[in-house]
Symmetry: C2
Subunit: 443 residues, 2 copies
Amino acid sequence: MEFMTGVKKTDLLELPELQDKSLAGQTVKVNGAVHTIRDMGDVAFVVLRKRDGLLQCVYEEGKAGFDLKDLKEAATVEMEGILNEEERAPGGIELRIRGLKILSSPCAPMPLPIAKWKLNTSLDAKLNMRSVSLRNIRERAKFKIQEGIVKGFRDFLYEQGFTEIHTPKIGAKSAEGGANLFKLDYFHRPAVLQQSPQLYKQMMVGVFDRVFETAPVFRAEKHNTKRHLNEYTSLDFEMGYISGFEDIMAMETGFLQYTMKLLEREYAKELKILNITLPKTDKIPAVRFDKAKELVAEKYNRRIRNPFDLEPEEETLIGQYFKEEYDADFVFVTHYPSKKRPFYAMDDPEDSRFTLSFDLLYHGLEITTGGQRIHDYNMLVEKIAAKGMDQEGLEQYLDTFRYGMPPHGGLGIGMERLTMKLVGEDNVRETTLYPRDLSRLEP
Amino acid sequence: MEFMTGVKKTDLLELPELQDKSLAGQTVKVNGAVHTIRDMGDVAFVVLRKRDGLLQCVYEEGKAGFDLKDLKEAATVEMEGILNEEERAPGGIELRIRGLKILSSPCAPMPLPIAKWKLNTSLDAKLNMRSVSLRNIRERAKFKIQEGIVKGFRDFLYEQGFTEIHTPKIGAKSAEGGANLFKLDYFHRPAVLQQSPQLYKQMMVGVFDRVFETAPVFRAEKHNTKRHLNEYTSLDFEMGYISGFEDIMAMETGFLQYTMKLLEREYAKELKILNITLPKTDKIPAVRFDKAKELVAEKYNRRIRNPFDLEPEEETLIGQYFKEEYDADFVFVTHYPSKKRPFYAMDDPEDSRFTLSFDLLYHGLEITTGGQRIHDYNMLVEKIAAKGMDQEGLEQYLDTFRYGMPPHGGLGIGMERLTMKLVGEDNVRETTLYPRDLSRLEP
């Protein structure tokens, strides 16, 4: 009988292992994809792409053990060679090739110049060849930064006593109700895709006090802009026993601070590749919705057309205002109008036209919506009636409040938008692996 | 201007903080939900439910600062009191109440006896009142164990150089093709919900070498069994540069070993609450599909009806056989028949009726399907033709192979099933927050 006993040791080394100074002059084995070949005559540079970066390998005729013309770009290989320090090479090391094993070969030449530093290709072309265009080191790095953001979100929240949950994406009803829902047939019953885990995470606050989820959400919105997706990953949390909605903004600030440190520590390589200057998170200004409108109206000489709505241009100007006046990359805009918030939002007891809620803007783009929720059963029932909604389908949600719930609130962060702003892109599709929008449903 | 500077310090203490011996005799503040009240006359025990467990609080008439009849079970409160060591209380501490602030009150008495140690309630009743039944300490603990499993999966894979990805759940086409797909209308185009991230994670192997995803998958199967769900969370990984499909089984064994240690270290409380004996993961037997059938046919006196299929009873008996013969909790069954595996599965070069693939059984239940995939473009094109499939919709997937891909493979683990087996349940709905099955679409 054969037994599996765990991960097998291998003599194939990865880039961090190759940084071991004691290996200089030693024969080592590596694998990787042939990123590019630069033939200089007697000598050639074969650059391998590995998961942690590039490795320069030197082909010397007669010594490498194979003929250079038998090696193609995009082949995957195992190589043996002598490791040397070489300060001009990526990572300060290079491999003098002494043996080659080809693992796989491509059938066609690369359709994109992925080995170039900047892939000067249209967004459409990149998306049409996503699995190829991301082999470019800079393109790939954006998604490592995205990984770091999600890691930061989870690790920080674990530290703060949150529990991770997994809520269903198919349901009979969705959080906000209304339009913008994708509809499907669920064994001959009408169903929808959830536009938010809102109702589930609230229900779970009564169980775990603090919960989070990182999962897809679905919005059948017909927007066709640079910042909208019809499916995106939402970083959601919800927390009980808050003393006010400021606790939620404080928690988000903590997440951002934690994550910037994590990125500096664990993703320094990618920050450098993308030439990213991390935003400032030590203190984030919070300004009332109505006050923010006044400030930009005054400074930029704009007329306030609708006191209860924020236009995209106003968001941009609020971002600009706080950058100019406070050198702030982020700004919390608080007390959104009640008519713009869903039924579960807690109205401001001092002025019920506004809610105890907020958006977080990052350089003028909304990346978070959050706030305090109603926790009193009767208040919730009244609000549902006042919004002209039906209790049907909300029975279990409402029962949660009937049987006691602490004061609570939470937020949702758009993962792709936060990544986009952080890496300095201006189209959210740049930081979405496979975007879903009005025209894109494939692959 | 107000500024957010990070998570605010609070004087409200959590259970781990209350374990600080130097606090004995001190006045402290806590919050929580009133889990149960036991009135003994002059004295009463008010047990608070907090996110880390229970806290026993002692109400002494005239000293507590309120009248006991004003406090209801399921209220949420802030309490001030004197902390004492008390070995008979949960966690070895109790609080002598000296002040109360009620944060919220329930509107109705609890419909389930959540404060009982075992909630002797039917599964249906528990699911119909999920947000209440999970307030029971044992019910809640199952989902903390689930959290630990997912945490173990991610942390182990990060350590092994994997990159986390987020792939779309709506698409024009799905991995395995065929039936069992939920269909929806996507802006007047036909679309489906992904039954697996298979094609996406393969495409990303060419970019990141090793990738993983923890996300929902959707299967419109009309099974109505204790082990099937129509939506579940799949723990998926895919890895390049493998030397054989055994590398994938070795990686999964490593994950299980890592996770059992993590559970022992970080979830000891929940393991104790649920009285869990962790399964053995030091060595996991691997047996060929055809051999496994023979072994159980012989030992349990069964006739092999179909040499190319495994019946659920056979899976159970394979589990039983390896428990009896090798004291093994897990067993890998390898070399599944080609006709039972999808087009991307790599056939065994020694006998193309079988594949280089495997299932992992846990006490006789399949919790993983995995294997090596075809990485050669021409072989893939031939296999698609041999399966009578169409290349339409697979263009970008196929191009990935055209431009070079390393040998690779991967697996998918059913999160709810693994949790179910680990906590000793026999219905997967017990370890699913909000199950979706033929009858359940709400809440």
